[in-house]
C-alpha cells in the first residue's frame, strides 16, 4: 500500500512540475494558446516567443505584440531590480521554459526547437535550480 502511495505522490508532483497552472493558461488569448499548442510558436532562450515554422501574418502579428509587451515588462523589472534588461529576460526564460506544457515547443540552450516532454526541460546551466 505504501509503495502505491509513493507512486501516486511522485506522479502528482511530476504533473505539477510540467504543467502551467490552469489559471495562467486561462489568462492567455485563445489565439495565443492555440498557436502554442499546435506547435506554431515556442519559447526562446532569450525570454521571447519565436516561430517554430514560418508564421502566417496573423500569428506574426500576435507574437510581435506579445514580445513588445514582454520587453516592456523585462525593462520594468530591470529598472526595479537595478539590473540589465537582458538579465531579467534571461531569468524569465528559465521560468517560462520550465512552465511550458507537454507538447509545446521551446529552444534548448543550443538554440534548437524541441518538444517538451513530461521530464524536466533542458535549461541553461545558469538557470536557478
Amino acid at each position: 500500500m505504501n509503495g502505491k502511495w509513493i507512486e501516486i505522490m511522485v506522479a502528482a508532483v511530476a504533473l505539477g512540475a510540467t504543467a502551467t497552472s490552469a489559471v495562467a493558461q486561462e489568462k492567455r488569448d485563445p489565439a495565443y494558446q492555440s498557436a502554442r499548442t499546435s506547435g506554431l510558436i515556442g519559447e526562446q532562450t532569450d525570454g521571447y516567443l519565436g516561430f517554430v515554422v514560418p508564421p502566417s501574418a496573423s500569428v506574426k502579428a500576435l507574437v510581435d505584440d506579445l514580445n513588445i509587451k514582454r520587453k516592456a515588462k523585462f525593462f520594468e523589472i530591470a529598472a526595479q531590480q537595478n539590473v540589465q534588461p537582458k538579465d531579467a529576460a534571461f531569468t524569465a526564460a528559465c521560468n517560462i521554459i520550465r512552465a511550458t506544457a507537454v507538447g509545446e515547443y521551446y529552444q534548448t540552450p543550443a538554440g534548437e526547437w524541441t518538444k517538451r516532454t513530461a521530464g524536466p526541460p533542458q535549461l541553461d546551466s545558469r538557470c536557478p535550480q
Binding site: V23, A24, K27, R28, D29, L66, K69, R70, K73, E76, I77, Q80, Q81, V83, Q84, K86, D87, A88, F90, T91, A92, C94, N95, I96, A99, R126, C127, P128
Partner: protein, 77 residues
C-alpha cells in the same frame, strides 16, 4: 635651406651655421627628452569587464521578483 657652411672664399656663412646649429640642438634635445616609445605588451592580461554577460548571482537574486511578475502578467507569458 642653404646647407653650405662656407662660401667659395673660405668665409664662414654665419647665418647658415647658426641655423643648422640650432636645428641640430633642437633635434638632440627632442631625442633626449622623449626617449624611446614602448611597444611591448603589459605583463598582466588586460581585463575588460563587459556588462553583457549574464551573471549567475544576479539571476538568483532577481528570480523571485521575476516569478512574481510572470504570475501577475500571465496573459503575455
Amino acid at each position: 635651406m642653404q646647407a653650405r657652411l662656407t662660401n667659395g672664399t673660405n668665409s664662414a656663412i654665419r647665418s647658415s651655421m647658426r641655423r643648422q646649429g640650432l636645428t641640430a640642438l633642437v633635434a638632440l634635445t627632442g631625442l633626449a627628452l622623449n626617449g624611446c616609445v614602448q611597444v611591448s605588451a603589459p605583463d598582466k592580461p588586460i581585463e575588460i569587464r563587459l556588462f553583457v554577460k549574464i551573471e549567475q548571482e544576479v539571476v538568483y537574486r532577481i528570480d523571485g521578483a521575476v516569478k512574481d511578475a510572470i504570475k501577475e502578467n500571465a496573459g503575455i507569458f
